[in-house]
């Protein structure tokens, strides 16, 4: 990593620590902000967060790895998550999944070559009355059919 990039990250983390407070309970909000901006939490950012909150880097890594929405490796610019829990499953999530995979040419858990979309499964999104449900970044779509899914995908930049 270039020195300049490192300095930028340090500055960014320092700012977030000021915003959320210098205590361990600020860890998740800080991680969420970094995740939102970079779509992942870079190694160096983890170490800077650890340094500024006076904890160990492995503790930061441990917390990140626990939560499904935080990750340490870069992902696509957009994350498309399909609910796989029971009612969405009964409502036909398999057909939606197949169509999405075919359309993007990738499997769930993978990222498109142009880095536009990462596909993931997710557990219950709380849209069980309107399944299958799809979460695109933080926006939720309900009653998704294979056709509707393609339309949604096409709108993603």
């Amino acid at each position: 990593m270039l020195v300049l990039e490192k300095n930028n990250i340090t500055e960014e983390i320092e700012q977030l620590v000021r915003k959320h407070g210098k205590s361990r309970s600020s860890l998740l909000p800080i991680l969420q902000d970094v995740q939102r901006k970079h779509k992942y939490i870079p190694d160096f950012a983890q170490q800077e967060i650890a340094r500024l909150l006076d904890i160990h880097p492995v503790e930061v890594y441990s917390v990140i790895s626990f939560y499904a929405f935080l990750n340490t490796k870069p992902k696509g610019r957009n994350i498309v998550r399909l609910c796989k829990t029971i009612t969405c499953d009964l409502a036909g999530k398999d057909n939606v999944a197949k169509m999405i995979e075919r359309e993007l040419g990738i499997k769930f858990g993978e990222t498109t070559k142009d880095n536009r979309i990462t596909l993931e499964y997710v557990n219950c999104l709380g849209m069980c009355d309107q399944g299958p449900a799809l979460l695109v970044n933080e926006r939720v779509y309900s009653k998704v059919t294979p056709e509707k899914a393609i339309k949604i995908l096409n709108e993603i930049k």
Partner: protein, 397 residues
């Protein structure tokens, strides 16, 4: 928009601030009295009496206390909190202010599941309006010295954080791993301070109870399960959605209301609940019979129960926090057992071992997740053994 939903209790008429304005005029003891009268029990599913919880926190001696709203609604088949958060935020936030007043807390925290991030802005705007109306902030509604404010914290995709001590751990910046109990959060909660953690719907019920009285609330429902409950109904029915029904409603009645036909089974309480077969549809929903945090998933005759069970167990294998042995490894063993049945590669003696293991998990796991994850396994294998075992091994995927 408002009050278009049908219901005599939770969805009954209510204006923002009703409960707050009323509560500042009465004493803490009066609030606790009304709550005791109401016999309100926790709406998250565990059913702990709210009056008892608040009395304990209120009696705890500490310089700081916290009110935490558990909006980490993650139980499969549950979405009633989504409706409350989107359409009735006043009920939740007013209830939290009442809690703050009663236990003597200055700070309330809403732990909103990461999947609901899209609600964040509207909820924060709403809190801003409440501050403007002096329903939050300092000297609330003119009550000198009554200061209380609410912040919203997001989860990041972990079902187990719905368990109250795991939720507190998450708030403190840790892995969402449940704590040992005792001590209970009422004494040693967030940052080690006395904390009440209540479900979204519990706060909503409190707002109504304060406005309309505990005895009014207790008129609804049954003796042991007072009031009405929001049910999240999904699966095979014509009208899925959120329904307010009094406790004591039978499963049959509910199926009728939501337009369910050819129903084979009903999963009450989500993945961690129990699967009820047709022969028991006259059972009543309530803490004394079929207890639930509100999740009702309906399966019709065409559904493969083993497939459903597998979906549940996959869920638990992924969502177990992994700290305690019975839950971390036990769920995997149960899932493997289901796969053995699928592949017609099982012995009944091994399945019996797994059932015994399930019972151990129910008593030996550290938190509610591991204690309830075998429920579906045990109840589906018991109640649907004909379908699963007497089909000549046709359980293929």
């Amino acid at each position: 928009m408002k009050n278009k939903r049908e219901g005599k209790v939770i969805f009954s008429p209510y204006e923002r601030g009703d409960a707050v304005k009323k509560v500042v005029a009465i004493s803490r003891e009066d609030v606790l009295f009304e709550l005791r009268e109401s016999i309100l029990k926790g709406r998250g599913g565990a059913g702990f009496p709210t009056a008892t919880k608040w009395t304990l926190v209120s009696a705890a001696i500490s310089d700081e206390k916290f009110v935490v709203c558990n909006a980490d609604e993650g139980e499969p088949g549950t979405f009633k909190d989504r409706i409350l958060l989107l359409e009735y935020p006043e009920l939740i936030f007013d209830g939290m202010v009442v809690a703050g007043y009663t236990i003597g807390a200055k700070k309330g925290i809403v732990y909103l599941r990461g999947e609901y991030e899209y609600m964040l802005k509207s909820l924060e705007d709403y809190l801003g309006e409440m501050r403007k109306d002096n329903l939050l902030g300092e000297n609330i509604c003119g009550k000198i010295g009554f200061n209380f404010d609410i912040t919203i914290r997001l989860g990041s995709g972990a079902y187990v954080c719905g368990e109250e001590t795991a939720l507190i751990e998450s708030l403190e910046g840790n892995r969402g791993e449940a704590r040992n109990r005792p001590p209970y959060p009422v004494n040693t909660g967030y940052l080690g301070k006395p904390t009440t953690v209540n479900n979204v719907e519990t706060f909503a019920a409190v707002s109504h109870i304060i406005t309309k009285g505990g005895s009014w609330f207790a008129k609804f429902g049954t003796d042991k399960s007072t009031g009405a409950k929001l049910f999240s109904v999904s699966g095979d029915c014509e009208k899925p959605g959120v329904y307010e029904l009094p406790w004591g409603t039978t499963i049959n009645e509910l199926l009728e209301i939501v337009g369910a036909k050819n129903t084979k089974a009903v999963q009450v309480g989500g993945a961690s609940g129990i699967c009820i077969p047709k022969s028991q549809f006259n059972r009543k929903l309530g803490y004394e019979d079929a207890a639930t945090g509100g999740s009702i998933i309906i399966f019709n005759e065409s559904r493969n129960m083993l497939h459903i069970l597998k979906n549940f167990m996959e869920f638990f294998v992924e969502e177990s926090c992994g700290q305690c042995t019975p839950c971390r490894i036990g769920n995997v063993k149960l899932l493997e057992g289901i796969e053995m049945i699928e592949n017609n590669n099982y012995t009944f003696s091994y399945l019996n071992h797994l059932k015994e293991l399930g019972k151990t998990m129910q008593v030996a796991s550290k938190c509610g997740l591991g204690q309830s994850s075998p429920n579906a396994f045990l109840s589906i294998l018991e109640n649907f053994k004909d379908e699963i075992f007497n089909n000549g091994g046709n359980n293929g995927k």
